[in-house]
């Protein structure tokens, strides 16, 4: 089966890389944003719904709702791009992860005290600890675009010297 189920951490949610890279490249027609914050903000939901190519469907879930509805989402057997605003949000849905899911950390902006992983991914100590826990069970691809070679990190904790 050729369907793609991609969990992507991107603090900008939908932007150029997501549309030009992931959506158009894999011809994904279904996108889900998992964010408690965006779910509560009508205007932001309207903005994100307005910027997708016309044949795409966008859905919004809070983290709890996403976990509760994941079985139904998973059974759809279509390619779906699922976007999280932060590593913590991704970690909070860890119970639904499985080996079929592509986990991608694509864009986390630079802030003070963050460690540069790639030119678009800057993570702090807590985020690295969470990723290292996920990495014990699953592959994590750190890359911004699908056709790039992922930065292979076996031990995220080594980045903070632990």
């Amino acid at each position: 089966m050729n369907r793609k189920l991609i969990f992507r951490v991107d603090d900008r949610l939908i932007h150029g890389q997501v549309i030009e890279g992931w959506i158009k490249y894999f011809k994904i027609r279904e996108i889900i944003i998992v964010s408690d914050r965006v779910c509560k903000d009508d205007l932001q939901r309207m903005i994100y719904s307005s910027i997708l190519p016309e044949d795409c469907i966008l859905q919004f879930y809070s983290i709890e709702n996403f976990i509760n509805n994941f079985a139904e989402i998973y059974s759809a057997k279509r390619s779906i791009l699922i976007l999280f605003e932060s590593v913590r949000d991704l970690y909070n849905v860890r119970e639904v992860l499985n080996d079929e899911i592509i986990i991608n950390v694509g864009c986390v902006a630079s802030r003070e005290h963050k460690i540069e992983i790639t030119d678009t991914v800057f993570l702090d100590k807590d985020e690295l600890i969470l990723l290292s826990k996920l990495r014990e069970k699953y592959d994590i691809q750190v890359k911004k675009l699908p056709w790039e070679t992922a930065v292979e990190i076996k031990n995220f904790l080594s980045l903070i010297g632990e």
Partner: protein
């Protein structure tokens, strides 16, 4: 609303605001520059700490930055959430802008220019610059007014003009014009032999098939090498 923007000057600066593009704050320095200019031109006396804060991370499509500036000032003056909407719109307009300007407008301008350029290259090039920059300059020029007038609801203006569909329409036309360009080019500049047309068809089909499997630059290297082999084995 127009009084908030010394339009000509800001327009020119919006052409250079990406000068410090970097991985740390992306276009943040440029956004601050544009914001400072409008602040000074209108004696708004925005607190210097507030201005300095604008050097933080900011990235959007460069041709749509003035919309975000307009939204920022509108939100700022009515004591709303300027920085919040700056962040939201920077992503949203990056998505819209990349889809239309980079993905679609560039190829369609190019193909039209190439078609007319087969008749007269200079005319083709002028056409390229005119078509592309008509959209480029129009959006940059009206962006502040539109952003300021509509504020955080500016997305509804993009919805009204169905901007997210423009890319699809443009790509559709480009597909047709690409076919036209290819057959005109092959007939006008190619060799009038069955072998040549057969080879060109094979090249086209191979391109279709491997397009998403192999990076275009590596493919180009392989094609140049294939042409070399053909040249050496068969002659020109």
């Amino acid at each position: 609303m127009v009084s908030y923007l010394n339009k000509g000057k800001s327009f020119l600066k919006s052409l250079i605001f990406t000068g410090n593009w970097n991985y740390e704050n992306m276009q943040g320095s440029g956004f601050r520059l544009l914001l400072e200019d409008i602040n000074k031109a209108n004696d708004l006396n925005i607190d210097e700490k507030q201005i300095a804060k604008q050097s933080e991370y900011f990235n959007t499509h460069p041709f749509l930055v003035t919309f975000i500036l307009g939204v920022w000032f509108k939100e700022f003056l009515k004591e709303g959430q300027p920085d919040y909407f700056k962040k939201v719109y920077s992503s949203a307009l990056a998505a819209l802008g990349d889809s239309f300007f980079w993905h679609s407008l560039r190829p369609i301008s190019f193909i039209i220019a190439a078609l007319f350029g087969l008749i007269n290259p200079i005319f083709g090039v002028i056409l390229y610059l005119l078509i592309f920059n008509f959209f480029h300059f129009s959006f940059l020029y009206i962006g502040f007014d539109m952003g300021f007038f509509m504020g955080k609801e500016v997305i509804s203006w993009f919805n009204r003009i169905k901007f997210n569909k423009w890319s699809g329409y443009a790509d559709f036309i480009t597909a047709f014009l690409l076919g036209l360009l290819l057959s005109l080019g092959l007939k006008k500049y190619g060799l009038e032999t069955i072998n040549y047309y057969f080879t060109a068809t094979c090249f086209l089909l191979v391109g279709f098939v491997i397009a998403k499997k192999l990076d275009v630059l590596f493919s180009l290297i392989l094609v140049v090498l294939a042409c070399f082999v053909m040249l050496v084995t068969k002659g020109g």
